[in-house]
């Protein structure tokens, strides 16, 4: 059983095949003609690539999704219990906040009150004690921190964001992602790997971890407040209509 699990990991299989190719490559070098050197270099090259490039341990998508599901379920329950109707507003890190937060206001339309200073507290209220919603860490913030160890998503320009977001595709987290400007604001189009995990009924308020990681990445890059204006979903494709709230971001710096 242990042996089966050991061999089922793709990186271990790749490493074994890689070592075999390197050994064969070195063995061919015993008779060093031009053709043999070429064959040997090719084999050693492929072998080394298999050993050093394929090194990531993998777990099934179902397992990783199940790990995240628990936390998001609690947040969704909390949103329902508190009867919050507003769409999510992504707040960048600031001198008063240690990390990016998602503000979910109580009202769906009309004037959205964003407190001048939001600390790391969860429940927000104004001076009179009126409920201003909740401020919680985005579902995908840890995921983003994990894939962004080199500070890749910091202080970028608008035109660079779409290109930088392609890292999510490269890491097999999404099928495709695009961030483009339209008449009414910015559209973030996300195509997930499969439609099974697209059944989030609170995409406007608390997007799924990967979607949340993408929006948080944009917030981090531009250091601006982003509001989800509305979302539309078609199968495994989700389109987020985003608005930037610039003035407040400057106030909070």
């Amino acid at each position: 059983m242990k042996k089966q699990i050991f061999l089922s990991e793709s990186y271990i299989r790749a490493r074994i095949i890689g070592i075999i190719l390197v050994i064969i490559g070195v063995a061919i070098l015993v008779n060093p003609t031009d053709l043999n050197i070429k064959i040997s270099v090719t084999l050693i090259l492929i072998g080394l690539f298999m050993i050093f490039m394929i090194t990531e341990k993998s777990i099934s998508k179902k397992t990783s999704d199940a790990q995240i599901e628990g936390n998001t379920t609690i947040i969704k329950e909390m949103i329902k219990e508190l009867n919050l109707k507003g769409n999510a507003i992504f707040l960048p890190k600031s001198s008063t906040r240690s990390e990016e937060r998602v503000l979910i206001p109580p009202n769906e339309s009309g004037v959205i009150k964003i407190p001048n200073t939001i600390y790391d507290n969860v429940f927000l209220a104004d001076n009179k004690g009126n409920n201003l919603g909740i401020s919680i860490p985005p579902a995908g913030i840890k995921l983003l921190d994990e894939i962004e160890k080199d500070g890749k998503f910091k202080n970028a320009k608008f035109e660079d964001i779409d290109e930088k977001l392609q890292l999510f595709v490269g890491m097999n987290l999404l099928k495709s992602v695009s961030f483009k400007q339209h008449k009414n604001g910015w559209y973030l189009e996300i195509e997930k790997l499969d439609s099974s995990d697209s059944s989030n009924d609170l995409q406007n308020q608390y997007p799924c971890p990967v979607c949340s990681a993408v929006i948080t990445a944009i917030t981090r890059e531009l250091n601006q407040i982003i509001r989800i204006y509305k979302t539309s979903q078609n199968g495994n494709k989700i389109v987020y209509h985003l608005n930037f709230i610039k003035r407040k971001a400057k106030q909070e710096k």
Binding site: I46, K149, E163, K164
Partner: protein
């Protein structure tokens, strides 16, 4: 992504091996290097920094071979 890059590199190396089977070793190494640089450029936006760093090591190794080849050619031309 690392799997796709490995497949691309393997395919490129094998193609070059067949194409240059009757030619000199230098052409083989230079074509491999060109392929590596092209693959690096095309996959750059999809790869993590860690993967880029590893890929760069391979490119630098072939760059050293390329420099050796060029130096040897220059020495031959100048008859030093």
């Amino acid at each position: 992504m690392s799997e796709k890059i490995t497949i691309l590199v393997a395919a490129w190396s094998i193609i070059i091996l067949f194409i240059t089977s009757g030619t000199e070793l230098e052409i083989f190494f230079i074509l491999i290097l060109i392929g590596f640089v092209a693959i690096k450029e095309f996959t750059d936006r999809y790869t993590s920094v860690n993967l880029k760093r590893k890929f760069n090591i391979f490119i630098f190794a072939f760059l050293i071979i390329f420099i050796v080849i060029i130096t040897e050619k220059i020495i031959n031309i100048l008859n030093i």
